[in-house]
Amino acid sequence: MSEHRIDLTVNGHRHSARVEARTGLGEFLRDTLGYTGTHLACEHGVCGACTVLVDGVAMRSCLMLAVQADGAELTTVEGLAAPDGTLHPVQQALKDNFGLQCGFCTPGVAMTLAAVTRDHEGPGLEEALTKAMSGHLCRCTGYQGIRRAIRQLAGASA
């Protein structure tokens, strides 16, 4: 099994590690670096729970190898809130609208919504956010609170 040295930044913290070529990014973040906020729920790219930002782009960390993140800047759910603890607007919207129950899918949902809110320009944010949710499964909420949170976010930006 080949091992590689990688250097990367997670939520502003620098990390260096030796990883096996086959180690998934999600597994690496959780098990090696301790960012356990990233959840692995299917490990085959369907549920979206494992979503993190890699150089600002929302990626499924179960479908990426840790070695592929060499040199990248990552944001996980632990890095979403402001340093003083103020929740990111996406986190706040999910909280205000009962957008989570068990919270297992939530980190991935929050990362995707954060990426889309940040990148979207012009009208149609609600549609863009809803469409992005097509890549996420939530077994608890029936998506009601997530949809309300999306409307809140779209309303705030309008």
């Binding site: 086959r22 906020g37 009962f98 129950q101 068990c102 939530c138 077994r139």
Partner: protein
């Protein structure tokens, strides 16, 4: 969306929290990645487990070659059943009764389903454990598997040591003789068959277990479960360990839905192996395992016939229910609850049923949200079909037959008493708020354009908050205290896998105590905290733990008032607590923060009223009424695309009576989550097996969970009739998953009515199956692929030669197969000619009977019992030398098998 004015949440004086959308206390950690799910926990020295599973459904294990796997670096141990047998286990059901087909941790010489764990690899990392598992070579002599219920009726024995493949059986074919004439005499008889697919409960976090041995005989287990208390008690019983030796911690669990009621083979094997290795072991189920090798649910085949008179009033009903239990069900189950709860909200004069669970070579069944939900699905879809057949409006048909409040108290045909159910009132509220005539007009217009709209309604009641009649279903304890800092701490045995119990319990406490919601901290999720309760099981926590906290907070408020009155030299009646301040009526200058009272109560006992215990603490265990009923009526509107068979849900309105609503956000979340799962069951989800017993949905690409595009915005009407519990709550966790399926099916059937009936409801209603109705041919291939249903083979009843019995006097060891598991007892008979008296003795005690009659080798006698409810047991036994067999009619529970032999 709330389509009526929000509940009145304003109060006079003390702040109102009950009934308000308080933000959830759980969300802070869960939104920021600081939750503590089992896989987030690591313990020094921890090793990782992976399983070697059977790839065939049935067969004899010829050999297991571990050599190559053992040589892999990083592998610490590999166990087979031969090794784990060193830790004796006796698996139990959720009801703490023994399972009937003995379960071993790993396969013991035979495999009985694909996914059966055969060997366990322990390694330094999960990846290494999986690598090694793939190197284990298992040779199995494959046998033809028993996959379907039809196979089970005629095929080989799933458990060779048993007489047949019937896992559980209740009800009585004989009652058909009484029901059939009533059906024959009815103006209309409508029959429907429902074949419910197999469901994978699919919590987003799979099963998970980390077992860490401590000391000589203690174990801390982090476990994905629904109640740390129930899990700890269950694990201790199964392992024969003292309960206090097991501590179960489950701070955050990513969904349970019934699957995690009790641990099963894999979690128990981890615990057993940790005991053997004396080191911490972790097993985290992956999705492939979760889908194919976690307990499944549903998989039923049900036929219901209902008679109606010329006015569309119910006359009688007969139901034949069969359920595919799989090989290792978490409790053999004929689902008696389906029959108990099918009719209590309707005026039905006569009901009979036979119900059976069958063993097959498929993954065993476990619980799933509303395990008895079939009663609503089969009844409500039949009622709509009947309404079309008879030519009355579906709402009108229900009005003629539902139990309204003035009809109560009422006792159902099977003896279930109801006294405060409101299904009729929920329906009226629904009809008052939804413009049905307008929809009918729109529907008629749309049809002219070739668009097919449909509307469906369903009504139901649901037993929630059960306590006192089944061993695990108990009351709830809360220990509540005001810390010397003035902050409030509650210790509870509730558990949230998304339920938000820390939130709702804090709301009750804050309101009853008169403190800010922010000042209340709730600790739960650890068997070391609180007292026994089954946690999230049977829609009970809001009802029972809600009642317990309600009362405990009142008791604690009383104590605070006594202390404050004493300190202020005032009378207790003048004291009020509000916003964390203690006030004396008419003396605003004497107001003081709770903290001051708390400091005195803990630190200056001399200033307390003489004899009063120091501190500010209260503890209360609430035992609620045995059952609290929740009622609802739902309505859904759909459009079916006649070209493609796709269903689009246009609106969905819930009119639900769950009594006092502690937090509408939480309650609506429970309803919505259940409804989304209902939509999944009706349209998407399916865990099919092929003829060789392979589960065919191995990923979330194959097992389709509803996405945000499959679920509409739900609208809620809350009809809040307080229940008889403290606080007046009614359970709400399972309802959406029970009433949702028939509501949606009825809407689809209504849309399809210009084409024909859904003759036989086969779930899920895929586009192809909907095209079956639209095109009136077998588009989906469902019928073509169907094995010709084998008429049930009942063993020919040979006229038993009436052997002259050599006398039945004396003791007999008998087993009665009750719905809650087998009950062993000793029967003693004394004959005096044909007259027989005697007694039956079970662990609960001995009860005598008299008046039995012996004719030939057949003995009939009756016995009245009080528990779990008042029923008369009617025994009908046949003796054959040293053995006895027969049945016992148990009132509404139907008939149970009796077997036994001379003691």
């Amino acid at each position: 969306m709330n389509i009526e004015a929000k509940m009145d949440v304003g109060g006079i004086g003390a702040a109102r929290y009950v009934g308000t959308r308080q933000p959830r206390k759980e969300d802070g950690r869960l939104l920021t990645g600081r939750g503590q799910f089992t896989d987030d926990v690591r313990v020094p020295g921890m090793l990782h487990v992976a399983y070697v599973r059977s790839a065939v459904a049935r067969g004899r294990i010829v050999s297991i070659d571990l050599d190559a796997a053992r040589e892999m670096p990083g592998v610490q141990a590999i166990y087979t059943q031969a090794d784990l047998a060193a830790v004796p286990v006796s698996f139990q059901t959720f009801f703490f009764t023994p399972v009937e087909a003995p379960v071993t941790l790993l396969a013991d010489g035979r495999v009985a389903c694909v996914g059966d764990p055969i060997a366990m690899v322990v390694a330094d990392s999960r990846a290494l454990a999986e690598d090694a598992a793939s190197l284990v070579e298992v040779t199995i002599e494959e046998e033809a598997p028993v996959v379907t219920i039809a196979d089970a009726r005629t095929g080989a024995l799933v458990h060779p040591e048993r007489d047949d493949n019937i896992a559980a059986e209740m009800g009585d074919e004989d009652t058909r003789l009484a029901i059939q004439p009533l059906l024959d005499a009815s103006a209309h008889v409508v029959t429907t068959r429902v074949r419910h697919q197999r469901i994978a409960q699919s919590p987003m976090e799979g099963r998970a277990c980390l077992a860490s041995p401590e000391g000589t005989n203690e174990m801390t287990v982090w476990l994905g479960c629904q109640s740390p208390h129930l899990a700890a008690r269950w694990i201790a019983l199964v392992l024969g360990m003292p309960t206090e030796a097991i501590r179960v911690i489950a701070k955050d669990v990513g969904g349970g839905f019934g699957l995690k009621n009790i641990p099963w083979k894999e979690e128990m094997a981890v615990i057993a192996a940790a005991k053997l290795m004396r080191c911490p072991l972790k097993w985290i189920e992956d999705r492939f395992e979760a889908l194919t090798a976690s307990s499944h649910a549903r998989d039923q085949d049900v036929t219901l016939s209902v008679g109606f008179d010329a006015d569309a009033r119910l006359t009688a009903a007969w139901c034949d229910y069969a359920c595919n239990n799989g090989a290792w069900p978490m409790g053999e189950d004929a689902n008696i609850a389906v029959h108990m709860f099918m009719w209590p909200c309707y005026k039905l004069p006569a009901y009979g049923f036979v119900t059976r669970g069958w063993y097959t070579n498929t993954m065993g069944l476990g619980a799933y949200r509303g395990p008895w939900a079939m009663e609503s699905l089969v009844r409500e879809t039949l009622l709509d079909k009947a309404a079309r057949r008879i030519g009355v409006d579906p709402v009108e048909l229900r009005r003629r037959n539902l139990i309204y409040l003035p009809d109560q108290p009422h006792t159902s045909t099977l003896g279930i008493p109801v006294e405060d159910i409101t299904p009729g009132e929920c329906l009226e509220k629904l009809v008052a708020n939804v413009d049905f005539p307008a929809f009918r007009r729109e529907q008629a217009e749309a049809r002219k354009e070739g668009r097919y709209l449909g509307i469906g309604v369903a009504t139901y009641i649901e037993p929630t908050g059960a306590a006192g009649s089944m061993a695990p279903m108990t009351g709830e304890t809360v220990h509540l205290r005001i810390e010397p800092t003035g902050k409030v701490v509650a210790m509870l045995s509730t558990h949230s896998q998304g339920h938000g119990t820390a939130t709702t319990m804090a709301q009750v406490i804050a309101e009853q105590l008169g403190v800010p919601y922010e000042d209340v901290a709730v600790y739960e999720g650890d068997s070391a905290i609180g007292a026994f309760s089954p946690g999230a099981a049977g829609s009970r926590q809001g009802v029972i733990a809600g009642g317990a906290t309600w009362k405990a907070a009142q008791l604690l408020a009383e104590k605070i008032k006594v202390v404050a009155a004493h300190l202020s030299n005032a009378s207790v009646e003048t004291i009020t607590i509000d916003g964390g301040m203690v006030h004396v009526a008419g003396a605003p200058e004497m107001s003081r923060p709770l903290r001051e009272i708390a400091e005195i109560a803990y630190g200056e006992p001399g200033r307390l009223p003489p004899g009063l215990a120091t501190g500010l603490e209260a503890q209360y265990r609430y035992q609620p009424p045995p059952m609290t009923m929740t009622s609802a009526a739902h309505c859904c509107m759909v459009e079916v695309d006649a070209e493609t068979g796709f269903v689009r849900i246009l609106r969905w309105i819930s009119s639900k009576d769950c009594g006092t609503v502690i937090n509408p956000g939480v309650v609506e979340g429970q309803i919505a989550g259940g409804l989304a799962q209902a939509i999944g069951q009706v349209l998407l989800e399916d865990m099919p097996y092929d003829a060789r017993g392979n589960p065919l949905a191995a990923t979330f690409k194959d097992y389709m969970l509803p996405t945000i595009f499959d679920v509409p915005d739900f609208e809620y009407l809350h009809a809040s009739t307080p229940s008889q519990t403290i606080g007046g709550m009614r359970g709400v966790g399972e309802g959406g998953c029970i009433i949702g399926p028939p509501t949606l099916v009825n809407a689809i059937a209504d849309a399809l009515s210009p084409f024909g009936e859904i003759d036989e409801l086969v779930l899920p209603l895929t586009p192809a199956r909907i095209l079956d109705v639209i095109e009136q041919r077998d588009v989906s291939g469902t019928r073509a692929s169907e094995v010709v249903p084998v008429a049930e083979v009942t063993a020919p009843v040979e006229a038993a030669p009436v052997a002259q019995v050599s006398g039945i006097d004396g003791d007999w060891n008998m087993v009665l197969k009750t719905p809650m598991g087998p009950q062993a007892m000793v029967a003693h008979f004394d004959c005096d000619g044909d007259a027989v008296s005697g007694w039956l003795e079970a662990p609960e005690g001995r009860q005598a009977f008299a008046g039995g009659v012996l004719s030939g080798n057949q003995l009939k006698f009756e016995m009245k019992v009080e528990k779990p409810m008042k029923i008369t047991l009617k025994y009908d036994l046949t003796f054959d030398g040293q053995t006895v067999s027969g049945k016992c009619k148990m009132g509404m529970f139907g008939s149970a098998k009796v077997t036994g032999e001379r003691g």
